[in-house]
């Protein structure tokens, strides 16, 4: 129990320090200490509901939430996460869900970890050489890309965008599947997608993504409880308490470090979690056999 409180605290500390949701660290950690991957994923989703709520409240006060955009993402997200839970149930019956969860983590953590590592390492290196960073930070809005040839155009006032509704719908859909299978908020996918694919201003991205994450993770929580009974309320609460306290200290510690150093640090951690997960998949297990209950009952 104290281990769980401590883990919640540690992940909370990290999420406060780096400004990330922490779901993608929490789920692998839960798996490492022996929580079944299915329970880790479903409980992780439930915990993210809570951390996103406090985030959204803060962002709404600063008017950083584009509700119309959030709503479109949300529709895609609900459909995506519902299909995700359905895939999850089917894979459980096949006995392959644990493998898929771990593979998904290895894939995403390695891509994100290395991108983050190289990007921030380059930024650190340039800074030392005295280059000007702001050069290509602001791209001009390009109106000739394929994104703008899609039908069903809609106006999003707060984001100052006029784009096809299909874009946020499909971004939401893809992220929804990930929420269901990986037990993450999906912030690390949806935030880059909103900035680079939809072209939203960075200021409204975080609040809007949190807004949709609340509903998508809530949907996943309810569906996972109904079809797989893998949500553990007690575990959620323990992680939450630790997480809330940890985030406070994390935010303070984060202010003392430089942005690029923080990101290099986070990247190294993401990569090491990824290596550990990948290593466990490749190394020959002690016992080739495992016993379980038949699925799909």
């Amino acid at each position: 129990m104290f281990l769980l409180l401590g883990m919640g605290g540690a992940v909370g500390f990290l999420s406060g320090m780096f400004g990330v949701g922490g779901g993608f660290m929490m789920t692998p950690l839960l798996i490492f200490i022996g929580v079944p991957p299915t329970v880790a994923v479903a409980t992780g989703a439930n915990q993210i509901v809570a951390s996103s709520v406090s985030g959204v409240i803060a962002h709404t006060r600063r008017k950083n939430v584009d509700f119309k955009m959030g709503f479109m993402l949300l529709i895609g997200g609900v459909v995506g996460s519902t299909s995700g839970v359905w895939i999850f149930t089917a894979l459980t019956a096949l006995g392959q869900i644990d493998l898929v969860i771990k593979l998904a983590y290895v894939l995403f953590l390695s891509v994100i970890g290395s991108l983050m590592f190289f990007e921030s390492a380059r930024a650190l290196w340039r800074k030392r050489r005295g280059y000007n960073l702001s050069g290509n930070a602001h791209k001009r809005k390009d109106h000739s890309g394929w994104q703008h040839k899609l039908p069903f155009k809609m106006r999003f006032r707060r984001s100052k965008l006029y784009i096809s509704a299909l874009l946020p719908l499909s971004v939401g859909f893809v992220v929804g599947i990930l929420v269901a299978i990986m037990g993450v908020g999906g912030g690390f996918i949806i935030v880059p997608a909103m900035i680079y694919l939809l072209g939203m201003p960075t200021s409204v991205v975080i609040g809007t993504s949190l807004f949709q994450i609340i509903f998508v993770t809530a949907n996943v929580t309810i569906l996972q409880s109904t079809s797989n009974q893998t949500v553990d309320i007690v575990l959620t609460l323990l992680l939450l308490i630790g997480g809330v306290i940890g985030a406070q200290f994390g935010a303070r510690a984060g202010m003392k470090l430089q942005g690029e150093q923080l990101r290099v640090l986070l990247a190294v951690m993401v990569l090491s979690v990824c290596l550990k997960l990948g290593f466990d998949l490749i190394v020959t297990p002690d016992d080739l056999f495992n016993v379980g209950l038949p699925g799909g009952h």
Binding site: V53, I57, S225, F289
Partner: protein, 255 residues
């Protein structure tokens, strides 16, 4: 207190055995046994529980006690390499497998009864009959045995099946007792305790007593609720999370 409970239980046992003797005059029950507690209650702090079985035999003989949990289907999966990654490759489903199996004997089982009896009465985990579920009917005997042995190994490692028989202790010539330990991971359900009296390599008398393993306390209620009203459970999980998030944001703002 334990002693008092034991004494009163013994007394009731003798009364029962007297009644039994009168009721079944021809077919006298030569063995009677009782448990010190018919319920194994699992609460939040459950770290396993001991159950004492005691009884008496008529005349001298050996005693075998078997504790069997409810039966259910179990899937055994075997990992294999798929593109360099270890994944569950093959699976076999066994049906009617007891979730828990423990045995205690007053002597060496192999000296007490012949192999045919051990097989017929399923005395010892290694003598349990394996039944394939309909989905796994078409596998060969070698594969079935390989997977069945894996199931037995896993059950023994989890202390759900006895690795070796425990001791039935005789107090004098007719009174006996056996202690069973139920590990914290036991599944709930109705367990059956079989008591056999063996004379001249033959089982001459037997008795079956139920034992209930159930969850109590808050954890049990949550578990029960999660399975019976899973939709409501999901809603509550979300509401708790929403409330916790709101509380956190209020606390954050004040600081």
């Amino acid at each position: 207190m334990h002693l008092a409970r034991l004494t009163s239980a013994f007394l009731s046992l003798f009364v029962t055995s007297l009644c039994l003797n009168e009721a079944t005059a021809q077919n006298t029950n030569e063995i009677v046994a009782a448990l010190d507690d018919h319920v194994v209650a699992i609460d939040t702090s459950f770290s396993g529980s001991k159950v004492l079985l005691f009884g008496a035999t008529e005349g001298e003989g050996d005693v075998i006690v078997v504790v069997r949990g409810p039966s259910r289907d179990e899937v055994v999966r075997k990992k294999g390499r798929i593109m360099g990654v270890w994944a569950n490759k093959e699976e076999v489903t066994f049906s009617g497998t007891p979730v828990f199996y423990n045995i205690a004997t007053s002597g060496t089982l192999t000296d007490m009864v012949p192999a045919s009896t051990r097989q017929r009465l399923e005395l010892g985990p290694d003598y349990l009959n394996s039944y394939l579920a309909s989905s796994s009917r078409d596998i060969g005997d070698a594969k079935k045995d390989e997977f069945w042995q894996a199931l037995l190994r896993s059950k023994k490692n989890n202390n759900l099946y006895a690795s070796e028989a425990a001791q039935v202790k005789f107090l004098g010539k007719r009174l006996f007792r056996a202690d069973f330990f139920f590990p914290p991971n036991i599944p709930i359900g109705t367990y059956l305790v079989y008591v056999y009296l063996v004379k001249d390599k033959d089982v001459v008398s037997s008795q079956i007593t139920p034992l209930f393993v159930s969850k109590i306390g808050a954890e049990a209620k949550i578990y029960d609720f999660a399975h019976r009203h899973s939709f409501a459970y999901g809603i509550i999980a979300v509401i708790i999370a929403l409330a916790a998030g709101w509380v956190a944001s209020v606390v954050f703002r004040k600081k």
